[in-house]
């Protein structure tokens, strides 16, 4: 114990509006998670390797058996990449579920909750860091896609809108993962539960196979499934093959619907998650 003079420091918080604090606090928390990625680069590596493997598997192993119309294998590869982007966005959610459950189990959540910080910032910062990681993965996947023959045929504006849409949906859906993570007893359960709900949405979708190949009773779910909408919207904006089933609303307005889903998810799950965070154990 050395006698450092502690009087020189101003420990009073500067006055700032609550929204301002929400932003700075979120940035601080976000920085924590980004630092963590640099400390455990393996996590990023495996977050990348999995979707790349899916790309290679479907492009070269399963793809030949799937018919998306004229154009054969090349057409399927163009069909596949927006689907893989949607899948990646979904699978990334499991990571935040586990991360939040882990924090809660370790007591660092209590530390956050006992600080005079904005309660929403812990989750906002975590989801923001997850979005940044996601953006990087989406970027690398796109490059992988280009390498195997995927092409963006649309305008620059359309492509930019597509990436904005993927990013926005990715951000919104991590709030669902955060909300689930706050209700899990431990990280093992979070690991399984965090994936369990993602599977039906991810695979009962059009990301790998056209809706027309699925049984009639399943088609409405697949059509309205947000993951399908996202993939379809991506294909539409990139001008990749879009095998249509009919003229249902989700097929006619996939881009609008994807943005709508993102806003809806955010509007529902962000407040729910923040409330769950505030009332933990209460």
């Amino acid at each position: 114990m050395s006698a450092v003079t502690e009087t020189s420091l101003n420990l009073q918080a500067a006055p700032r509006p609550k929204l301002g604090w929400l932003i700075t606090d979120s940035m601080s928390v976000s920085r924590r998670h980004l630092l963590k990625i640099t400390r455990v680069p393996e996590s990023l590596f495996f977050a990348l390797i999995q979707p790349v493997m899916f790309v290679l598997l479907f492009a070269f192993v399963f793809g030949g058996a799937i018919n998306v119309g004229p154009g054969g294998a090349q057409a399927y590869r163009e069909y596949l990449i927006p689907g893989i982007l949607a899948q990646t966005v979904m699978f990334a959610v499991a990571g935040i579920t586990v991360g939040i459950t882990e924090d809660a189990g370790k007591g660092i959540m209590d530390r956050f909750r006992s600080l005079p910080m904005r309660p929403g910032a812990v989750l906002a910062g975590h989801t923001l860091a997850s979005l940044l990681q996601n953006t990087l993965v989406i970027g690398i996947l796109s490059v992988t896609g280009l390498a195997i023959g995927w092409r963006i045929h649309g305008t620059f504006g359309e492509a930019a809108l597509a990436y904005l849409m993927f990013a926005m949906f990715a951000y919104a859906i991590t709030w669902v993962g955060a909300w689930i993570g706050l209700h899990m007893p431990n990280s093992e359960v979070a690991g399984t539960a965090g994936l369990a709900w993602i599977f039906p949405f991810t695979f009962a979708s059009n990301i790998f196979t056209p809706v027309a190949t699925m049984p009639g009773w399943l088609q409405p779910f697949v059509l309205w499934n947000p993951v399908s909408c996202l993939a379809l919207a991506g294909r539409t904006l990139f001008h990749n093959p879009v095998p249509m089933l009919g003229h249902s609303f989700p097929e006619r307005y996939p881009v609008e619907l994807s943005f709508g889903y993102a806003i809806l998810l955010l509007a529902i799950f962000a407040p729910l998650a923040v409330r769950a965070f505030k009332n933990r154990n209460a």
Binding site: M1, S2, V4, E6, S8, L9, N10, L11, A13, A14, R16, W21, T24, D25, S28, V29, R31, R32, L35, K36, R39, V40, K106, G107, I108, M109, D110, R111, F112, R113, S114, L115, P116, M117, A121, P185, N279, R280, N281, A282
Partner: protein
């Protein structure tokens, strides 16, 4: 006198398990209150309520003059909390952790850096500052955790079992740190399972059992209730016990008790270790063989034994976790 912590009629149930059954607590500014009790007695629940982490079912509580329910932000700006688990990020370095929490305490970037430096220095963590927490020892983690809770130089500090799981040397170090903080005027609410720890640090002690206060007072007051020290003597032959009891009666602060099956004699004493010398000399003069002799200080078990008539329960139960299986209700 100014009260730093005031709680009245706190109750809390988890499902049909009553965790707190009407708790009243007052802690004067600049003093240390020790919450003493076995696992599951409600210590952690009280801390969590006072630190705004948990809402009580009924009752009122204020910390630093602010209501914990209606003014949580104000409460959070005057408290520090160190829980049973080191609440730091494993993957960050010690310095990064402290800077993170300082920023979240709304210090400016420059001040956060300075404050982290001060605390690292103060807790002898400067050398390890830029290493990841993963490589820290248990004692270092606790010190860092305590440092993190001191970032805003809190008026009121909650320490939930601050030394559980620490080796004796780290424990001693932690005690010294806490004593320094109190000397600087910090109010401390400390939970512990160790009577020795409460004895060392606390001005006043509240003993909890099954979510109720079963005793409160200074350490001396509690000890006098328990009956102070006692000598535990094992004689070489059980047949010597009656005569030993007769011979030693004069040294006891109460009558000796014998347990012939284990050749043991228990003698309450007030003179501490000098009583042992008297006992050994007397037995030696009378050629009674001593197999073992020890001076026993009262333990938490003894406190419970004398206050409730049975030993402290649930030693093995997960430490004060508010959730999970707990098979009994608070006694009324």
């Amino acid at each position: 006198m100014t009260l730093a912590i005031k709680a009245a009629g706190l109750t809390k149930s988890f499902g049909d398990v009553v965790a707190l059954n009407g708790i009243d607590i007052e802690v004067e500014q600049g003093t240390v209150l020790g919450l003493l009790g076995p696992n599951g007695s409600g210590k952690t629940t009280i801390v969590r309520i006072l630190a705004t982490l948990l809402k009580a079912d009924s009752g009122v509580a204020s910390v630093g003059g602010f209501d914990v329910v209606t003014q949580p932000d104000e409460v959070r700006s005057v408290i520090g909390l160190t829980g049973q688990y080191a609440a730091v990020d494993e993957y960050l370095t010690g310095r990064e952790n402290l800077e993170l929490f300082a920023r979240l305490f709304h210090l400016s970037k420059v001040d956060a850096k300075k404050r982290a430096d001060q605390l690292l220095d103060r807790f002898d963590l400067s050398d390890a500052a830029d290493r990841g927490i993963k490589g820290y020892s248990g004692g270092m983690r606790r010190r860092l955790d305590l440092a993190a809770s001191l970032i805003g130089r809190p008026n009121v500090l909650f320490l939930d079992e601050p030394t559980t799981g620490l080796d004796p040397r780290s424990r001693q170090g932690m005690w010294e740190v806490i004593e320094d903080l109190v000397a600087d005027g910090t109010t401390v609410l400390l939970t512990t399972q160790y009577l020795e720890e409460a004895d060392q640090l606390a001005n006043k002690i509240v003993v909890l059992n099954h979510g109720e206060v079963i005793a409160k007072g200074t350490s001396d007051e509690l000890k006098s209730q328990v009956g102070g020290d006692r000598i535990e003597l094992v004689v070489g032959a059980a047949s010597d016990l009656p005569s030993a009891a007769e011979l030693l009666r004069e040294f006891g602060s109460g009558p000796p008790a014998t347990e012939p099956e284990i050749r043991t004699l228990l003698l309450p004493v007030s003179g501490g270790s000098s009583a042992i010398v008297d006992v050994v000399r007397k037995l030696d003069e009378n050629k009674i063989n001593i197999a073992d002799i020890a001076l026993r200080r009262p333990t938490l078990d003894d406190v419970f034994l004398s206050l409730t008539g049975h030993a402290a329960e649930d030693k093995t139960e997960a430490a004060g976790a508010p959730k999970g299986r707990r098979g009994r209700k608070a006694r009324r």
